[in-house]
């Protein structure tokens, strides 16, 4: 996979009791190059977490022996500071989850897109690893974004983007080489957790593509059907 090098040496703890989900998550995470330990319940998870240091935890809230949130809070008290990706089959987001999310963790409601889980996980790991060294420019191939002046250019030629299109492109650039799903774009660019059954996001991408991938240049924005989009790796 494209981001293999990035994920190398990352160790994850997956806490999930459903065998089917455990199975495919473990396989796909391993495919991505992560080293994954799997715990089927909270007790096992605690043992794992006290024995090893993990780069991130993936915790399902509905565990057979205890509530996932309680497990996370207990681990936090025991000094486990790794970011947590919460998986929830619950209908509404618990206030406590909302609180945790503010602490830098993330959550996904089941069923989720695998690509989205991987993308968010990468964000989580990157957020954890990289400190606040925010560059003034972003560059992917011959595409260059000036974050201060909010201007984008392709091969030195200025692109005529609306402020909103710039935000969208910036997000894609920051996640260059990684899949971003429609719901990620909706949540991060527009700040909405909605699932429209129309192609609202796609139209934004088409328009952006019309401006960025001009004739004679290498196409940068690719569509992954049923999953989302990816901007060519830098």
């Amino acid at each position: 996979m494209q981001s293999m090098a990035y994920a190398l040496f990352m160790r994850l703890l997956l806490v999930e009791d459903e065998l089917e989900i455990q199975d495919f998550l473990k396989t796909s995470l391993a495919d991505e190059g992560y080293e994954v330990d799997v715990a089927g319940d909270g007790g096992t998870a605690e043992k794992f977490a006290s024995a090893k240091v993990y780069d991130a935890l993936i915790v399902d809230l509905g565990l057979p022996d205890q509530d996932g949130i309680d497990l996370i809070l207990r681990l936090r008290r025991q000094g486990v500071s790794s970011p947590v990706m919460i998986l929830s089959a619950r209908r509404s987001v618990d206030d406590r989850v909302a609180g945790l999310e503010q602490g830098g963790d993330d959550y996904l409601t089941k069923p989720f897109a695998l690509a989205e889980l991987l993308a968010r996980l990468r964000n989580l790991l990157k957020r954890n690893a990289a400190t606040s060294s925010s560059p003034m420019t972003l560059q992917v191939a011959d595409l260059e974004l000036d974050l201060l002046r909010r201007r984008a250019s392709r091969g030195g030629e200025l692109l005529n983007l609306s402020p909103q299109e710039f935000v969208l492109l910036e997000y894609l650039c920051r996640h260059a080489g990684r899949v971003v799903t429609r719901s990620m774009l909706l949540a991060e660019v527009w700040g909405m957790r909605i699932q429209p059954d129309t192609n609202v996001v796609d139209v934004h991408i088409y328009r952006l593509r019309g401006k960025v991938d001009v004739e004679g240049r290498e196409p940068l924005i690719k569509t992954l059907r049923g999953v989302g989009y990816v901007l060519k790796e830098r």
Binding site: A89, F112, L114, P196
Partner: protein, 490 residues
């Protein structure tokens, strides 16, 4: 919400009850007094009449027996004078001149033969002669020059003349007047006192009712674990609050059960859905070499996503129908939401040949579940995208009206079809050509309802559909609690 006007209304209810009770009380007292007054008046008159009859008999006797000589005047006069001193009901502080009694002897015609009393007796005689007199039956006599009438009894004597004994009703009337005055003050005091007691008790009672009402209205809004206050007494009010609390126990129980059912339903369906989706996605990345399988897998994933969305929305609608939708409220500015929505949907709309415009009068803040509000608005715009023919205009309006945020989504398209119009907000009602799952508007209505708002759908007179969502605006108390929550999280 309107505790001020409630208290006013209940206050006036207490007032009204007290007024009516007092009126009934006063009327009753008045009737009793009227009876009493009548009885006393009759009794006094009976005594006067008895005295008059007795005295007139005695005087008649004396007048008959006394020889009609020059001493006659003196003898009869003194007897009459003596009798007048034993007048019943007589007040002690009367002046020396005794004008409350007169004695008159007169034939049917001619001047008076004998007169004892105040004045010359001419007026009295004239008054008596003007009246038809039955012997030995007391009668009223109004005499010129005397403010109060006399009670008079006539008795014939053997010389063919009559003797008349008159007793002024002045003392009798004075006694009755005293009685009335005393009663008036005492009655007024009693009635006022009664009014005070009734008002105080009803106010106290209704105060409990008001507390119950206030508590009950708070319970309905979101928190089902609260209970109405109980007085600890076994009266009607106490029973009312206990019954309400038992009812709330049952409601809380049912809602809890509903949550358990929807949660476990969601969980039981979501886990296999997650597994299926994951496997499909994995096979998609592995099927890179097999271009024939890819479209099928992609469409399976899309179908799965629609199924998931349907599941979520169905459960939301079901919970909202039962007033059991769980909300995570924060303060949100609808103006901002609408602007972002415009921004998000405008390109897609213009791709469909639709125009979109926003009419907003500035920030309108509501205390609501942001995710639900976003989904509801997105639902409406998705609807427009799916159903409007090209070259129509979608207008989003936002304004604050009477402490409520009013969101209007209207278009100049064909409007709602008659077949769906009446059942618009019911689950699974959709137009013939609709490709959705028929939950869109039901969901919007559910969200509005859960926030204490309303949705109205209609066809515009000038053509096109109009949807009006009303949500209660941020109240000051909510604003404060919202900030408190924000502070806690932050």
């Amino acid at each position: 919400m309107s505790s001020k006007s409630d208290s006013k209304r209940l206050h006036s209810a207490a007032w009204r009850i007290s007024l009516w009770a007092t009126l009934a009380f006063a009327l009753g007292t008045l009737l009793v007094f009227a009876g009493l007054h009548q009885f006393v008046a009759n009794d006094i008159q009976r005594r006067s009449d008895a005295w008059l009859s007795g005295e007139v008999g005695t005087l008649g006797d004396v007048a008959e027996r006394t020889p009609k000589d020059r001493l006659y005047h003196r003898v009869v006069g003194e007897v009459a004078e003596l009798a007048s001193r034993e007048v019943p009901n007589r007040s002690r502080n009367q002046g020396k001149e005794n004008d409350s009694v007169f004695f008159l002897q007169a034939a049917p015609t001619g001047p008076a033969k004998l007169w004892v009393g105040a004045g010359d007796g001419e007026a009295n005689l004239a008054a008596i002669r003007a009246q038809k007199v039955v012997p030995d039956v007391p009668f009223h006599l109004n005499v010129k020059g005397f403010p109060k009438p006399f009670r008079v009894v006539a008795s014939p004597i053997n010389d063919g003349s009559f003797i008349y004994l008159g007793l002024s009703e002045r003392d009798e009337l004075r006694v009755l007047r005293n009685l009335r005055t005393r009663f008036l003050w005492l009655g007024l005091l009693i009635v006022l006192f009664g009014f005070g007691i009734v008002f105080y008790t009803t106010r106290r009672m209704l105060g409990h009712v008001r507390e119950i009402t206030e508590a009950a209205s708070r319970i309905g809004e979101s928190d089902l674990s609260r209970r109405v206050p109980t007085t600890g007494q076994n009266d009607e009010i106490g029973q009312l609050s206990r019954t309400l609390n038992r009812m709330l126990d049952r409601i809380e129980n049912s809602v809890h059960q509903l949550h358990t059912i929807t949660d476990s339903l969601a969980h039981d369906l979501r886990s296999p859905l997650t597994a299926i989706r994951g496997k499909l996605e994995m096979s998609l990345s592995e099927a890179g070499a097999d271009p024939e399988a890819e479209p099928m897998i992609v469409s399976a994933i899309e179908e799965l996503d629609r199924l998931t969305e349907f599941l979520n929305t169905s459960l939301d609608v079901a919970e909202a129908r039962a007033d059991a939708l769980r909300l995570t409220r924060t303060e949100i500015d609808l103006d901002e939401v609408m602007r972002v929505m415009m921004d998000l949907y405008e390109p897609c709309m213009s791709e469909h040949g639709l125009r979109m415009q926003l009419r907003s009068g500035g920030a309108v803040k509501v205390f609501a579940d942001a995710a639900l509000v976003h989904r509801a608005v997105a639902n409406l715009l998705d609807n427009e995208l799916k159903h409007l023919p090209a070259s129509c205009t979608v207008t989003i309006g936002l304004q604050a009206e009477n402490e409520a945020a009013v969101v209007t989504v209207e278009d100049d398209g064909p409007g709602f079809a008659a077949e769906v119009k009446n059942a618009m907000f019911q689950q699974r009602v959709k137009g013939r050509n609709s490709s959705g799952h028929g939950l869109g508007l039901a969901f919007v209505e559910a969200v509005a309802r859960a926030h204490g708002g309303t949705v109205m759908a209609s066809n515009r007179a000038e053509g096109g559909a109009r949807l009006v969502i009303t949500l209660p605006c941020v109240q000051e108390s909510q604003e404060r609690s919202g900030q408190a929550v924000a502070a806690e999280i932050g």
